[in-house]
């Protein structure tokens, strides 16, 4: 059975480290639904969040293969524990008439989004949340106006409680 899995990876902040991860996924035909990467508070470490999918055996193989990379210090399957996940999205929509502007503003409020940029022709809405919430917002805004552009950050996630991914 295919299931989505969130992998958190702590690795050396070295040139080429990211390409090893990405290369591994394409080389072994593993899926990447989303990938985010940035340095941590310790500048020598980067943290990657990958959303991937596959059956149990594939996820086990992905975890082991990622762990095997010399640059990788820790890998954690966040689905196996209570966790918090968020994604950030900007949506640029046409907002030419007063009716459209009101409607978009109302929808953004319902989803707890914010309008972060505005011209007399358009709004840019910022929204964060789980993937499903972001998808739902896109569906409803599409009924009201034309979407000009969307950018999504991909998922970032962290375990709840005392569990942590650190050296």
């Amino acid at each position: 059975m295919n299931e989505q899995t969130i992998l958190s990876i702590l690795l050396e902040n070295e040139p080429g480290a990211l390409s090893r991860i990405v290369g591994l996924f394409s080389q072994r035909a593993f899926n990447i639904e989303s990938l985010t990467v940035a340095p941590t508070d310790d500048k020598s470490l980067s943290r990657i969040t990958i959303v991937t999918s596959g059956d149990h055996q594939i996820i086990e193989q992905i975890t082991k293969q990622v762990n095997k990379l010399v640059d990788v210090l820790k890998v954690s399957e966040l689905n196996n524990m209570a966790h918090i996940e968020r994604e950030l999205m900007f949506v640029k929509v046409n907002a030419k008439t007063p009716e459209a502007r009101d409607e978009i503003k109302r929808t953004a409020d319902i989803f707890r989004g914010q309008i972060v940029d505005s011209t007399n022709q358009l709004y840019t809405v910022q929204l964060s949340g789980k993937k499903d919430k972001l998808n739902a917002f896109i569906r409803s805004i599409r009924r009201q106006s034309d979407i000009i552009e969307i950018v999504r950050s991909g998922c970032v996630a962290i375990a709840r409680g005392a569990q942590s991914l650190s050296v």
Partner: protein
């Protein structure tokens, strides 16, 4: 401390500690306070590092980016550089050198084409887990990314086929980077490591002290060596109650130098042992418990034993598709215990019921200990039925073949080489029918004696690999068994053999065809032979002579053994023996496509 050159220093903190002097000043000892500290250029640091790591031979080819290292090679005698004729061959030589010894093979090539020519050899070493360090030149740092002359992103090119790779970004770190590369190459599951060396880091105007780390620590790398106690206990319990156990020993046993432990375990369990292609030699071919190689061209008794086993103990094997045949039909009755140092090998192709991560040489003694504490009895009667069964499979004599007076059979050549060398020679092979015939008809006596490209299946591997073996084992006979196709993929190295006086023996099983491809076309493509005829073969005898060696041709079976005797009597000359063998011979046994492990043909049209 005075800084006498004009180069700007990126790392001012490091610079204040390092001694930055002009070479001339140091050599003339004008700065007497520093006279006791040896100082080196980047290129010299590379060589000092290799020396400190005990390297005696490196295999390479010069070019613009690495000329500083070549220049530094002139001034020393600790390391011998073997100049190849093609960089691919350098990697295979380093590979053969490593496989026949406990050393890390070292390759030195220039940037661009020098580096990319190594790709096949690196992939070969990667697939078979061979420790190798490839020092590849790179254009100067300020030119990287500019599509400079002979620039290639070697780290990118080699990424999927290396254990790890490094780029040297500052000169002082060269020794530490090379030490790490060696450590990674030979520890855990061994493999090739690429070290990219930009020209400006080698051709330094200034000189640096040589500072080798005493201990290598990589915080993100610590392979598991010892098996987990609970898993060992589970494995021992399964083995203790097994009625039809099989030990499946792969190349990991040889890499871990665990042959004596394997024999102990075999005798303790009185279990049959099968080998993967890479595992041959891990147990003597004449050992009474050895039932042969398994897999696509495995023996009937090996594949049958696996198919009927109730417990399979896989040691350092990775259940390659050439072993398993259809994975969904693979040994359904068996409990599979899988011991490997690489966790990714376990349950990758075949689900292991009892996984054990650890080094074979450590895990086997752990298993023996645990067996002692379990209910395991050593009553030979327990195995009687199992061995009776195996005997009935052996009695099928799956390796029997028909000889005739007119044509030489490939099988015959292998058997003759065994007799003439007393079975002691190191044997390398290329890829194809001759490789399978060698694996089946040469009972290897010891580990590291059989050297072939098992995982990648690289034609052109055999000759350079044999040269590497000869350098590592100069006192031993080394034979490259090749085919008329494979030998032409690196034949230029006959020239290198003359330069360095490498008196190996090259036996070509010449059937005027790409035999293995033809066999598959015979069986799976209704005999439609596409691109397998080698209609313009060179005269291999003349070719050997042109390169300054002895060439011989054998065409009739009666003269075969005598010719081989004669060839091997030339102790100090390379002899190439072109043996004209039966054109249409197939390798049997052979698994049927998409079948179970024991669905096989024993001869043309003969089902099991």
């Amino acid at each position: 401390m005075s800084i006498l050159d004009k180069e700007t220093e990126e790392h001012s903190a490091a610079a204040s500690q390092s001694l930055l002097l002009q070479r001339g000043a140091n050599e003339s000892n004008s700065l007497q306070t520093k006279s006791k500290i040896d100082l080196f250029t980047g290129a010299e640091l590379v060589l000092e590092s290799l020396k400190a790591l005990g390297v005696k031979h490196i295999f390479g080819y010069p070019g613009g980016s690495v000329l500083d290292i070549y220049d530094a090679l002139l001034g020393q005698e600790d390391i011998e550089h073997i100049l190849v004729r093609h960089e691919q061959a350098a990697t295979h030589m380093a590979d053969g050198y490593s496989r026949s010894s406990d050393e890390v093979g070292v390759v030195l090539v220039t940037s661009g084409p020098g580096a990319t020519n190594c790709v096949t050899g690196i992939a070969t070493a990667y697939m078979d887990s061979i420790p190798m360090v490839i020092l590849s030149g790179q254009v100067a740092t300020h030119l990287i990314g500019d599509d400079a002359f002979q620039e290639t992103d070697m780290l990118g090119c080699s990424r999927p086929i290396v254990k790890h790779s490094y780029s040297c970004r500052d000169v002082e770190s060269i020794p530490a980077v090379i030490a790490k590369a060696f450590h990674l190459a030979r520890s855990g599951r061994p493999g090739p490591v690429v070290v990219d060396l930009p020209k400006d880091k080698l051709a330094t105007q200034r000189i640096y002290p040589f500072c080798m780390p005493e201990e290598i620590k990589i915080r993100s790398y610590s392979p598991t060596i010892k098996g987990h106690t609970r898993q060992i206990k589970k494995a021992a319990e399964a083995l203790a109650v097994a009625r039809r156990p099989v030990i499946f020993a792969g190349g990991g046993v040889i890499l871990a130098n665990a042959s004596s432990q394997l024999e102990q375990l075999t005798e303790c369990l009185d279990a049959p042992v099968v080998n993967s292609l890479m595992g041959l030699g891990s147990i003597p071919g004449e050992h009474p418990n050895f039932v042969g190689m398994l897999g696509l061209h495995g023996t009937f008794e090996a594949n049958k034993s696996m198919a009927n086993a109730d417990v399979i103990l896989a040691l350092g094997a990775r259940f390659d598709d050439r072993v398993t045949n259809s994975t969904n039909k693979f040994c359904p009755q068996a409990t599979i215990i899988h011991v490997d140092i690489d966790p990714t090998s376990i349950s990758k192709n075949i689900k292991a019921h009892i996984p054990v991560v650890g080094s074979i040489d450590v895990v086997i003694p752990q298993l023996l200990n645990a067996l002692k504490k379990s209910s395991f009895s050593t009553d030979p009667d327990d195995r009687k039925d199992w061995w009776q069964q195996i005997k009935s499979w052996r009695d099928r004599q799956c390796l029997a073949y028909e000889k005739n007076g007119d044509n030489i059979k490939s099988q015959q050549v292998i058997e003759s080489i065994y007799r003439v060398t007393n079975g002691d020679a190191y044997i390398t092979s290329d890829v194809g029918q001759h490789q399978m015939f060698t694996a089946l008809y040469f009972p290897f006596k010891r580990p590291k004696q059989w050297i072939n490209s098992g995982g990648l299946g690289t034609m052109g591997f055999g000759l350079p690999a044999a040269m590497g073996v000869k350098l590592a084992r100069p006192e031993s006979d080394v034979v490259c068994i090749s085919g008329d196709g494979s030998i032409q993929m690196n034949i230029q190295e006959l020239s290198t053999c003359l330069q360095y006086g490498l008196p190996i023996k090259v036996v070509i099983l010449n059937n005027r065809n790409l035999g293995m491809v033809k066999q598959i076309q015979d069986i799976n493509y209704d005999g439609r032979h596409a691109s397998v005829y080698m209609e313009s073969l060179p005269d291999f005898v003349k070719l050997a002579e042109a390169y300054g060696h002895i060439g011989m041709r054998v065409t009739c079976p009666q003269k075969l053994e005598q010719a081989l005797e004669e060839a091997f009597a030339h102790k100090n000359k390379l002899v190439l023996i072109d043996v004209e063998v039966e054109e249409h011979e197939h390798v049997f046994p052979m698994q049927k496509k998409l079948g179970a492990i024991d669905d096989m043909w024993l001869a043309k049209g003969v089902d099991r």
